[in-house]
Amino acid sequence: MSRLKRLRGRVWAFFAKPVLDAELEAEFEAHLQLAVDEYMEHGMLPAEARRQALIDFGGIQQAREKQREARGLMHIDILLQDLKYTVRKLLRDPGFTAVAVLILTLGIGANIAVFSVVNTIMLRPLPFPNAHELVWIAPPPAKCGFSCATYSTDAYDEFRAGSRSYQDVTGYFAFSTPGNLRVSMGSGTPVSATSIDVIANFFQVLGVYPAMGRLLNTDDALNGAAPVIVLTDAWWRRQFAADPNIIGKSFDINGRQTTVVGVLPRAFDFGAVFSPGAKVDALTPLPLYGDPRNWGNIITFIGRMKPSVTLSQARQDAVVVAPKLCWNNRIPQTCGSYKTPVPVPLKDYVSGRLRHSLIVLWCAVGMILLIACVNLSNLLLARAAARSKEFAMRAALGAGRFRIVRQLLTESMVLSVAGALFGLILAALLLSWLSHQGAIALPLLSQLRIDRATLGWTLLTAIAAAVFFGMVPGFRIATGNLHEALKDSSAGSGQGRKHERLRSVLVISEVALACVLLVGAGLLLRSFLHVLDVDLGFQPERAAAIKVDDGALNPTFSVDEIQRRTVMYQQILSRVSTIPGVEAAGITDYLPLDRNRSWGLPFPKGVRRPENLTGGPLVYVVSPGYLRAMGTRLRGRDFTWDDRLQGEHVAIINQALARFLASYAHWPNANPIGQLLNGSGGDTRIVGVTDDVHAETVEGEAGWQIYYPSTQKVPAGTELVVRTTLPPGQLASSVLRTLRDLNPNQPAAEFKPISMLVDHANSPRRFFMILVGAFALLGLLLAALGIYGVISYSVTRRTQEIGIRMALGARAGLIQRQVLSQSLWLVAVGIAIGAVVSVAIAHLVASMLYATSPWDAATYCAIAAALFAVALVSGYLPARRASNISPLVALRSE
């Protein structure tokens, strides 16, 4: 017989109690009737027969109970009883219940939210089918930005054909700039949008299917194919009002009629996976055999491994294929020049860097739960102390000790479940807010939601918390002497003191935990302040940038194009400079901390170039005045409009590149200004040296950078940078109006403050700092509550003693000091333990810190001071109460 079936029977029996009970009664009645009949047959009188039958039957109530126990879930019956009792009891003490549930809500809610973040970013596979097969294929990270992580179209073809480890390899154009689409719909002003060019098989490799229409196919990417576009779900809803008939409609995009062929599913978010914090509106095909062939390294590789292939096999495979890759098939010297690509799981590429931070965050939030539990233990203990008589009474009336402990555990379980429910609501609110924070550069945030794993985690946390904080008081009751409690009427007896000692231990551990959290948060905060203090090489305050429509999507070099742009840029800059409040204006093609690209390294003229030199400087093609608008310090001279195409070619380099080149060139005084460089485009004279600009990360070392004038090289795009004396927001409309005057096609692009770029780059650090900081403050609050609770309880317990002492002449000040010193003592011990633990585990956060030692003395001291201050405050209230005790009242109260 299967257990399951039996269980089903039992569960059924539990719910069908009235029916089954009635049936049992009928059966009993039949039984007695039959017995009576038999006795009467033997000549007994009815009354006597009935009496005898009842004797034979035994205790009816017992039989009933036994049968019920045999048939059903006796435990649940008891549990229900306990539950009913507990709820009644809790509702009678709403203050305690509210505080307990609030503490648990915060503790469990924070845990749910953080688990969801950790689960989404770190634990859950990427939102693609068989995501474990997907790999990111790139050489090991180098200093030259995206250009060193990308490949040419020829290399892509070769890699795809030559590798045997993959079902297929795809990629996307890594250098799309935000707002690269100018979409004209009807007669209105064009809107600006962002699209990413992807290789036609992109969606097949990722396993993404259209929500509507179709995605891209190879024909779309052929030269001369009719332009098509695939919309993301978000853009389709926002810009096209979720038009159900959008498929087949066409719009003027960057001057070409482009047909919408499909809409992506809601679950696909390009930015969330590949470019956190960026908003991508549409995807367009990358024509592999058209212009992009001449653009150099532009494609990132993403591969889907064959199911049977392991990562190390794919790596081996890449080693074999790498030498065959050519930068350009027509230039044989470029073959074999690529560093060997290393496939890493796409998941690691997306979230690997965050792993450590996430684990720290998880630990922090776990500690919050721990503190919450200790706090509740404390509260329950105080309650249990107050109720010890009730328990003793129940024990005396025959309740088993186990039954009483179970009652206590039920109570903690009820509290915990209530906390978990409210916590779930809190977490859901938090998550829905977080998932709409597009500006936080953390991957997959938009995928945050309460899923099954999160619910499971909630349940687990709730149960663990209930057991944890219910255990201490439960254990206390189970081991305590109940009869003692019945006698123990005066508050000063041994039982009370024992309670107090245990509660002190709890408070000390609370303070210690809070101390560890605060130290962690303090260190992160200090790092963050250091990061904000970093000299970025430019001044983000009061500067803003706007993308300008320059009439060319992917410009190639020509004399006409240079001349056209020079005229256009001069016009724009002279007009914009006259706007009141504009201090300086300039144009660049790439902004720091945004996208970037690098070109080959030019070398000092006449100096032999070492063989093994790899990588190149980040390149910025800028107009005169750009460096001043950005606030980048410059030694030497800026470009001028007189640096003509026909004249001498000039460049400005940064200090890092200057130092590097000087180490080869033996320039007089190592001064590069005035020296000649020799690159693929002929000789270039260095006219200036700039500060190192933090172009890729705020805290990382800056790499090589080189600036070329827009009058001699073609910029890849046009970003107008404006430095103002007013808040940038106030200028937005006048700058846009000026641009519109000059070019009616100018879309309503975003006027984004440069400080936003910095904020964006710092957003992960800020995210973790704020979260850990919030947890630390919560921990501090809970610890303060704990201290207050214990001291205040001890004052109440000693009311009589204090009264006597005051009657004997003790002054109020002395009493106050004594009570205060008691709370300081608790905190001192807690801090000591917390500090030792912090020192021991501080190295765990070391990798998240910037220019801050994990054993930073200032932080430790500040935290200790803060905790003492909190102890003073939370000890002061009970101390004042103690000193206000009137001896008369205190003595009379007994």
Binding site: A30, G58, Q62, A63, K66, E69
Partner: protein
């Protein structure tokens, strides 16, 4: 007199019920209780009411089934009968009991302890 009656070992009642049903076919609770009393020669200390816990247990395990019916003297009562699984279970259990009793007998036959009178225990 009741002092010398046998207390039922855990599980024996279930077995007795099964055996009774196997021997008698369909029977109501009272009938089963009476049969057990008679078969044991009134040696078993049985509160008749306790049989119902046993019956519900056996029924949940699927070893017996029940149906309301009418007794010989026209009383409505619930009649129990043994199922095939019940029969198999009974065969197994009785085998076990026989082995156990034979082992116990051999143990008691082993030496001086076996000669102690039950009354002295």
């Amino acid at each position: 007199m009741s002092d010398s009656r046998l207390d039922l070992l855990q599980g024996t009642l279930d077995l007795m019920v099964l055996q009774t049903l196997l021997a008698m076919g369909s029977l109501h609770g009272y009938g089963i209780a009476r049969r057990i009393e008679q078969a044991s020669g009134n040696q078993v200390l049985l509160n008749q009411g306790t049989i119902y816990a046993s019956l519900v247990r056996l029924e949940q395990r699927g070893w017996i089934r029940s149906k309301w019916g009418t007794s010989d003297n026209n009383r409505k009562a619930k009649f129990y009968s043994i199922t095939n699984t019940g029969k198999r279970q009974l065969a197994e259990d009785s085998r076990y009991w026989r082995r156990l009793t034979s082992v116990m007998e051999r143990m008691f036959a082993m030496g001086p302890a076996g000669e102690v009178e039950p009354g002295d225990l």
